[in-house]
Symmetry: C2
Amino acid sequence: MKSLVILGSTGSIGQQTLDVAAALPERFEVLGLAAGRQIDLLLDQVRRFRPRYVAAADEAALAARADALRTCGARVISARELSTLPEADVVVAATVGHAGLEPIVAALAAGKDVALANKEAIVAAGPLLARVARRTGARLLPVDSEPSAIWQCLQGEVGTPDEPHLATLVGLAPSGRAVARLILTASGGAFRDWPQGHLSRVRPADALRHPTWRMGPKITVDAATMMNKGLEIIEAHWLFGVPYERIEVLLHRESIVHSLVAFVDGSMKAQCSLPDMRLPIQYALTFPERVARPSVAHLDLAAVGALSFGHVPPERYPCLSLAREAGQHGGTYPAALSGANEEAVACFMAGQVAFTDVAPLVAAALDRHAPVWEPEIDDIRQADELARAVVRERAAAAAQPVSAVRAGAERSDAGAAGSA
Amino acid sequence: MKSLVILGSTGSIGQQTLDVAAALPERFEVLGLAAGRQIDLLLDQVRRFRPRYVAAADEAALAARADALRTCGARVISARELSTLPEADVVVAATVGHAGLEPIVAALAAGKDVALANKEAIVAAGPLLARVARRTGARLLPVDSEPSAIWQCLQGEVGTPDEPHLATLVGLAPSGRAVARLILTASGGAFRDWPQGHLSRVRPADALRHPTWRMGPKITVDAATMMNKGLEIIEAHWLFGVPYERIEVLLHRESIVHSLVAFVDGSMKAQCSLPDMRLPIQYALTFPERVARPSVAHLDLAAVGALSFGHVPPERYPCLSLAREAGQHGGTYPAALSGANEEAVACFMAGQVAFTDVAPLVAAALDRHAPVWEPEIDDIRQADELARAVVRERAAAAAQPVSAVRAGAERSDAGAAGSA
């Protein structure tokens, strides 16, 4: 019986984590739930799962429901207290974006295993999380489908790490020298088949129609820009201790193969399933065991018929190389990248900038970034905030949007080419 | 440094095992070689690899080359002695067919790990090999691409066997309850795209053109009838301790995914590579480590583009269900199946019977089989011999070939249907 604390229980991953807990009541007890501002949904969850502790970013709204909480036997505490409860076995970090970082650090510092769905946290604070986890022996258990796939493929593979500081954070024997490459699969997102010239006309509503996964809005836009894959490159670097030059991205439209590991002997392992986030969530929670969940749908490859693979066209996905460069620079560059991206996506969703402005806005923030090479949590927060400020400033100041400026530049280029 | 003994060194797998040993001289020493009748090739191998011991089925021919062997410092011993040498770390069983059984049993009884390419041995003598291996703690290390793929996918997966007698023979923690299904991939063989009505006209030369693998003649014909997949079902049952009803076959034309494991949680792992037998051979020899071999070609899935999967049409591959039934009956049925098949394939290759006669000949031998349920090695040999005798008798006696008889029967059926 594992006691779970779920940070971000009302979000997409949080709700699916509760689905898993509900399906396996003999394995999991819900000890605590933390949400942001969806207090009604949080109360529904409290009524259903009877956690002993509850927290919310909107403390006033939660306080207003004190009676209902008392009836359910739930005590209101802070998210930080929630993430370090002595009775907790696993803290599920299902928050989205940078806000989730501090409770994650607190949980690791308290020696708690963290099931990590929040990739922004490890992207922004990889070296910090690694340092804290190594000190306490806590593990980071990947929840996202791609790092979970790699984690599953690395089980039982032995070897020696090729760089001692690149040990894994996932509770595996180091397998560095056995691994040739980590290969993250990418669906290509909602606009993979749009002519590239039309991408500037994408509307927020279009961006939410992911071809295979049902996810929250931020992640769905990140899938369309492929920034999500860039963030996963940085995440995989820290989780599995593999250098950036040996982490690749492979286009795979069907989202059936969730990622692969290529080994030095020429062999490759792939993990696949129907696209269902509850699978990697459950694996993180039952690891190293596997458990049958009653309602789970099994993949029938004969029914699928074919799986396709292709190279990622770099000109279509500029966010991917921005992320790789930020990772390779190190220090606070990934924090700036992730903060700038979160802000740029918000500007796009608010209708302030075009879809094709996201990458140039992030690039501008990285250009202006003054890195700290051995960051503490305050350095990471500052890098994040400054990068956001750059993005907001650019997005607001542009009397004409960034894409129009760029489009103008492209027209001049075209003119120059024409006259050549 | 591992000392290797290779039984069947002049065959296809034997030669590729020597390729691996030659590419990794810091890891492997060739201690002994055994061949059948290709004495010239054996002598070339002795000159190149300088084994201390050598054996051949054709003892007279080997004795005639005593001088050359003495010059190389190789001593002639029996295949049985070779398979139990105290200095040997791994015995590679690269023989084809039933002749290889006795040295394998001897090696396991002496506590040697056996790298097993000879699937007929474990098919015919699964319970016997399991008994001997469990007594001495020796392991069977799969060399064939399909069981190797399953072995690789099972690494690091933990669980409890669902039937205690079905422990694995491959040196893995039992993973029974974690495993939902083993899924063997099948290319469909050389005639997968021929109209079914034309299969009776297949000539031996046609049967040797396998679409993806370069293999010996017996195995290539078995791929075309899919008897090889049937034998692999029985092999996988014994190696991995999984009941027959949870071992499936999936059509996969490209021979890139070598097999898969479906787990109870809805996740699946696949092992893939370019089709190259040296990969699984090397994995068996370096297990649990993986080693880079200088010349190895790595799979580029983007270059492959697509992988296809489909159901196996049972009416096209009757050998598959014959094998599954023989495995489920147990006792000496699989020995009879394998012996009958070996003989039927020989009759086909000799031009005595049609390609479509292989399955009815095997079925006839199984119909006439009187099983022994707890077989010793003599029972297995007898089952094999009697099944072969039935096949030879049928193949020879048929003044008109079996397929003609069957075709006649089909014509009567068609007539009956027409009159209905």
